[in-house]
C-alpha cells in the first residue's frame, strides 16, 4: 500500500537546513511514502507573521491547504514549527466558518478555496502511525545498537496539545519509539520537551543560549552520543549555535544533532553524504564511523 501526501517543505529545508530536504527525499521512498511537492507553497508564517498580522498568517496556511486539497492529498510536514503553526491554523479554520470564509476571500484572486478537508501530519507521526514501526524495522540495515540518542521534540510539535493531538505533551513517546525501532537507546531527560530558544536567538542570544545549552548539557550528562529532532529550527539552534552554547554553559558539549530523516537514513544504510550530514557545524563523523563499523555485523 502506498502512502501519498502533499509534501510541504517549509522554509528551513529549502534554506539553511538543505540536508533536511535531502535526507527526507533519500528515505521516504523506502518507507513506502510517495509525495507530490507543493512547489508553490509559501512560508507558514512560523508564528512570527501572526504577531503582526493574524489573518494574513492564517491565509498563508489556508493557501497551502487549498493547494493540497486540490490534489486530494493530506499535507506532510518535515518541520515541527510548520506542524504546530499549521495544526493550529487548521483547527481554527475548520472550527469557524465565518473565519474560513474571510480567509478564503483573501485567496480568491488566485482562484483557490479551502474547504476544510485536509489533515496536516508530520513525517514523525506518519512513520509511527501510518508507515508503522514494523515496516521501519524491516528497512533497518544497520541497527544503531551501541548509540544512545537523546530525543529533542521542540515546542510546536507538542504544544498546545489540543491543536496537535498526537503525543502526550507531558510524556511524549513517538521519537523514543522511532529511536528504539532503529536499534538505538533513547536518553530520558527533562529537557526533551523544552524550548531550544531559536525564536529569540537573533535578538536575545544570551537567553536562547542558556536554554539550548542547558538542554544539550542535560542530554550529554544523560550519556547521549547524539541528539535527534523533528524540527529544523531546533536543529539550527542546537547545531549552529552549539559552540556558543558550550561557552555559555561552560561545558564542551560536542553533541552531534541529527534531523529525524538523517537518523532513519543512517539506520537504513543510506550513505552519510546522501543525508547531508557534512553540512552540520557539529561534526557527525564519529557517529557515522561507529555505524559504519557495525555494517558488517549481523543484525
Amino acid at each position: 500500500m502506498s502512502l501519498k501526501y502533499a509534501l510541504y517543505p517549509g522554509c528551513a529545508a529549502k534554506g539553511a537546513t538543505p540536508e533536511l530536504y535531502q535526507s527526507t527525499k533519500a528515505i521516504i521512498g523506502r518507507l513506502g511514502i510517495e509525495v507530490i511537492e507543493l512547489t508553490a507553497s509559501s512560508c507558514c508564517g512560523a508564528g512570527v507573521v501572526a504577531e503582526a498580522d493574524p489573518e494574513g498568517a492564517l491565509a498563508l496556511s489556508a493557501r497551502t491547504f487549498a493547494q493540497a486539497e486540490r490534489l486530494g492529498l493530506d499535507v506532510m510536514t518535515i518541520c515541527g514549527t510548520c506542524q504546530g503553526v499549521m495544526s493550529t491554523a487548521n483547527r481554527q479554520l475548520k472550527g469557524d466558518p465565518a473565519l474560513l470564509q474571510r480567509v478564503n476571500r483573501l485567496l480568491e484572486p488566485e482562484d483557490l478555496t479551502y474547504h476544510g478537508n485536509v489533515q496536516v501530519k508530520h513525517l514523525l507521526w506518519i512513520v509511527v502511525r501510518e508507515v508503522g514501526l514494523a515496516k521501519l524495522k524491516d528497512e533497518v540495515q544497520v541497527t544503531l545498537g551501541d548509540l544512545k540518542i537523546a530525543p529533542f521534540y521542540g515546542c510546536y510539535i507538542l504544544r498546545p496539545s489540543w491543536d496537535l493531538g498526537f503525543d502526550d505533551p507531558e510524556n511524549p513517546t513517538s521519537l523514543e519509539k522511532v529511536i528504539r525501532a532503529v536499534g538505538a537507546e533513547p536518553v530520558d531527560y527533562g529537557g526533551k520537551i523544552k524550548c531550544c530558544g531559536f525564536p529569540i536567538i537573533l535578538e536575545k542570544e544570551d537567553i536562547a543560549l542558556a536554554m539550548n545549552g542547558a538542554n544539550l548539557k542535560e542530554a550529554k550528562d544523560g550519556g547521549a552520543d547524539a541528539m535527534v529532532t523533528p524540527c529544523p529550527l531546533c536543529h539550527m539552534s542546537l547545531d549552529i549555535y552549539q559552540e556558543r552554547a558550550s561557552r555559555k554553559v561552560e561545558t564542551n558539549l560536542n553533541l552531534p544533532v541529527l534531523h529525524l530523516p538523517q537518523m532513519l537514513g543512517l539506520a537504513m544504510g543510506v550513505k552519510a553524504k546522501d543525508l547531508g550530514v557534512e553540512r552540520h557545524l557539529v561534526p557527525v563523523d564519529e557517529i557515522v564511523k561507529r555505524i559504519d563499523a557495525r555494517r558488517d555485523d549481523p543484525r
Binding site: G15, A16, G45, A59, E170, C195, I200, I207, L281
Partner: protein
C-alpha cells in the same frame, strides 16, 4: 486501590537538601491530588506542608508540579495521573524559592504583577462614581480569568534561565490593561513602552508551556503576542523583537519563503556591533552550504502571497 505518592520534602532549617518521601494511601473514587495530600497530612505526617484553600480551582493556591507538569492539585485526578504516568510524583512549583515542602515563595511573582501597575490609568475619568466598562467594548480574550496560581511562571522556559523575566502572568495582566478602553491613550503608550526593554514582552520564545499548563485557559502567550502587535501598531519598532516580526513579514511578502541570508540583517538593524556579532556564524554557515542565495528567485505565485498579506492588513 493502594497507591504510592512520592513527595518532594524540604525543611530549610533542618534539611541539607530536598529529598523525596513516599507515602502509601488507599485511593477513593474521584480523589484529587489535593484530597490525597490532605489525607496524608492528617493520617500519616502532620508536618507535610502545602497551600490550599478553596478546593475548587478558584483561589489558585494549590499549584504544584505533578508528574513533571504544573497543575492545580485540587482539580487533578489521582486516577488519571496514575493512568497517564504510572505513578504520582509531587514537587513544588519550579524556579521559585521553596519555603517548605510544596509551599514556594511567591513574592517575586506578586512583585512582577505589581510592577506592571495592574490598574486602569485614566485621568479623564471622574474620581468618584461608576467606572463600568462600556458594554461590549472590552476584549480581554479571557486574560481576566487568571487566578494568579503561578503555574505559567513555573513552567516558563525563559523564566527558568532568567528569573528577571516578567513572565507570562504579569505580561498577560499588562495586556488586560492595554486592552481596556477606559485607559488613557498616553498611559497605554507608556505601558507598552515600559515593556520594550530586557525582561519585557520581547523575551518570550513562544514555547507554549504557559498556554498548555494554565488551568483557566488564559493563554498568556497569546496575550504577549497581542502586546507585541499593539506595540508594533503604536510604532514601537526599534527593538530586535519588533525588527524580527516586521522584517520576517517583509521577506515573506518579497520571496514567499524566509530567506535566512537576509533575516539576520533585518533583526540586527543599523548596528555595526550587532552585525559583527552575527557575522562569524554566518561565515561558518556559508562554508557549510547553509546560507541560501540572497538572490534566490521567489516562489511560484509570490505575487499572490504578497497581495493576500496586503489585503489582510487592510
Amino acid at each position: 486501590m493502594r497507591l504510592a505518592f512520592t513527595i518532594r520534602r524540604y525543611h530549610p532549617e533542618l534539611d541539607a537538601a530536598p529529598h523525596d518521601e513516599t507515602y502509601r494511601l488507599d485511593i477513593t473514587r474521584g480523589m484529587t491530588v489535593l484530597d490525597a495530600l490532605i489525607r496524608i497530612k492528617n493520617e500519616q505526617d502532620g508536618r507535610l506542608t502545602f497551600r490550599y484553600s478553596c478546593r475548587s480551582a478558584i483561589c489558585g493556591s494549590c499549584a504544584m508540579t505533578i508528574n513533571g507538569a504544573e497543575k492545580l492539585a485540587c482539580r487533578t485526578s489521582v486516577r488519571k495521573e496514575w493512568e497517564r504516568h504510572g505513578g504520582i510524583n509531587i514537587e513544588p512549583l519550579r524556579h521559585l524559592p521553596v519555603l517548605k515542602d510544596l509551599a514556594v515563595d511567591m513574592r517575586s511573582f506578586w512583585g512582577k504583577v505589581r510592577a506592571i501597575e495592574p490598574w486602569v490609568r485614566a485621568d479623564h475619568l471622574p474620581p468618584t462614581g461608576p467606572l463600568s466598562l462600556p458594554a461590549g467594548s472590552a476584549q480581554f480574550h479571557n486574560v481576566d480569568a487568571c487566578i494568579m496560581c503561578g503555574a505559567c511562571v513555573a513552567a516558563c522556559t525563559v523564566h527558568e534561565v532568567d528569573q528577571g523575566f516578567l513572565g507570562p502572568a504579569a505580561l498577560a495582566k499588562a495586556y488586560r490593561f492595554v486592552a481596556d478602553p477606559r485607559e488613557d491613550s498616553t498611559a497605554r503608550t507608556a505601558r507598552l513602552g515600559a515593556l520594550q526593554g530586557p525582561t519585557g514582552m520581547w523575551d518570550c520564545t513562544r514555547c507554549n508551556f504557559c498556554v498548555e499548563v494554565c488551568p483557566k485557559d488564559v493563554k498568556p502567550m497569546e496575550a504577549i503576542i497581542r502586546l507585541r502587535r499593539a506595540a508594533i501598531q503604536a510604532g514601537m519598532t526599534d527593538t530586535g523583537g519588533a525588527r524580527h516580526v516586521v522584517g520576517f513579514r517583509d521577506l515573506i511578502a518579497r520571496f514567499g519563503r524566509l530567506n535566512e541570508a537576509l533575516m539576520p540583517l533585518k533583526v540586527v538593524g543599523p548596528s555595526l556591533r550587532r552585525l559583527l556579532h552575527v557575522l562569524p556564524l554566518g561565515i561558518r554557515m556559508l562554508l557549510k552550504g547553509k546560507v541560501p542565495n540572497p538572490l534566490h528567485p521567489p516562489i511560484e505565485g509570490v505575487q499572490h502571497v504578497r497581495a493576500l498579506l496586503e489585503r489582510a492588513r487592510r
